[in-house]
Symmetry: D3
Subunit: 131 residues, 6 copies
């Protein structure tokens, strides 16, 4: 196998093109992001991942903006550069203002801090939070 590289629409198989077409139609964009072009090396993974993402990120009990911000919170915690960049863009497109981004970062930073304080002080779960 070669070092991972993207597959452009023009070079894609019909199965990959079908997924790319659905991404473009669902998101109303002229081209898919690099993430999908790289996953296209594995058409089964591409299709399963896109269908899961489409299902999970569609509006439900939570609105799309909230879902995108939660995605950013996870990506920032994991330090995934690609995901931070793409989902911050996604959240902006869904309506995130600069003030909202600032508060999102403040909560993510604080949660990461207190997670470690709870670990280090070995705090037992309060009885009220136990099943």
């Amino acid at each position: 196998m070669s070092i991972p590289s993207p597959i452009e629409y023009a070079d894609a198989s019909p199965a990959v093109r079908a997924v790319f077409d659905d991404i473009k139609a669902t998101r109303n964009v002229p081209d898919v992001n690099n993430f999908w072009k790289y996953l296209a090396r594995d058409p089964v993974l591409l299709k399963r991942t896109w269908e899961s993402v489409k299902d999970v990120m569609s509006p439900g009990a939570l609105d799309p903006l909230t879902k995108e911000m939660i995605y950013v919170a996870v990506s920032v915690t994991n330090g995934c550069n690609y995901c931070i960049a793409s989902h911050t863009a996604g959240a902006r497109k869904a309506g995130m203002t600069e003030a909202m981004f600032g508060e999102l970062m403040a909560v993510v930073g604080m949660a990461n801090e207190t997670n470690r304080l709870a670990n280090g002080y070995r705090v037992p779960v309060d009885a009220a939070f136990e099943p």
Copy 2:
């Protein structure tokens, strides 16, 4: 030093009691959670952490429920048991329904999955997401 242990209100110094009182008044609860009782070993840390949490979690551009769900997303990603338990309770108190919790978990799980796919496929950031 001994193994970390909690400080109850009855045994607390005036400085610690002042923080405990503010937590109880702000949250309208009869007692503070274990987290604060353990941090009370270090009154400076206790006061700074509480004031930061109070400031960060108060309503602003994001509502308290969204903030609590972001806190849960970080805690689940980090695997902090105490924080998952306490902030899931906090999110519920702020109005999270079972359907919202289900979608929150679905997004957190999906984000943790795609974070690794982006890492493993070494996907470069799209030009559109670069400064």
Copy 3:
């Protein structure tokens, strides 16, 4: 294979006993911790891990207390309960006071917070810090 279980000194092979004896002599303790009793299932791993730990944790350019506190910092960041418990005990034995523990936790918490702020704001490395 069975679920991991500890090997006590009385049931240990000569190769495992030799490592256990060295741990007890080096640390001046009557018995080894659970960590070593579980690793004893794999005598090669046991021996290599102990020799590496003994080498790395011995006094050098850094004193043993500083090394134990760094160990705690990593374990708290990773959320490894066993390691937090055992290395906090190790740091105490090496002289960590309650005030030092409090400051250690404060630094670890703050570092975990600012790590995420740097991630989320996508801060580029300053030219002065680049090779």
Copy 4:
């Protein structure tokens, strides 16, 4: 909102300048690092984060060099490139020699390894380490 970008002193509001001035005076540097220039997008976060960092990193029961090395240990464990670069520089400025850096890395590496061995072997906490 736009993609995160830094705010230089010349373009900063009086509130941001006040923080920048305090950073420069406290650290005796001609300019602040990128981290602060990016956080300046959110003056409240900037001020709170700087005041917490200044408080936490000042000499106390632990000296500044030890605190900087703990900061590096966390940042290396989390894989935060910016934080590794800036706090390694901070530790060097506070007196870290190449030998100290080498031992710091050795401890951080070893702790990350044994954290996983403890996880994988499912080692229970020794009774002596329990409250």
Copy 5:
């Protein structure tokens, strides 16, 4: 919403029972694990997760034992207790011997150590490994 709790077969909806039946038939087990009983709170998530897991873990270019050991490697790295326990059991069932488990742990430990050494020494990717 209540604190998460499991749904037993007897209390499950037809949609949940259909997934439980498929898990039991696929794995030839009399009952499903707790993981599935908890996810049953969200039938859509349950169904999607099971179908993805079944698809991903079925034999392909990699055999089931290799896949289970990779699952353990990830779970140990993340410190997920439930996942370590259940997938170590799964790997055993697929044929993992005690010697294989020992080597798996050794590789996972070593990889976590060298990951941090690469981070801390800020090692640039060799030209040969770049696209």
Copy 6:
């Protein structure tokens, strides 16, 4: 100390050259990777790390390809760019096909997802998996 920089063979001490020679002979390569050139700043760490890696990665109950894929799984989970690049290359050299890489990524992604679902739903370990 200076910013970490590599040590080339021509500039290396006899102790470092001895390790470099062993790496080149063992792996049958004309030069060592950057990782070893950076670790060479600390000859003791270099020697210990290489000997551990050589020991751990040699064929045993698990074959070299399986070990390399486990290494990749850990590195992808931790988001260590250098390690992902170098060990994906190592796995390829050991025989990993593109289809195997695709399935490896699918398992790693799925494991990272279900690790968080187990955390978030607070799933207790099944009795059958307990010691």
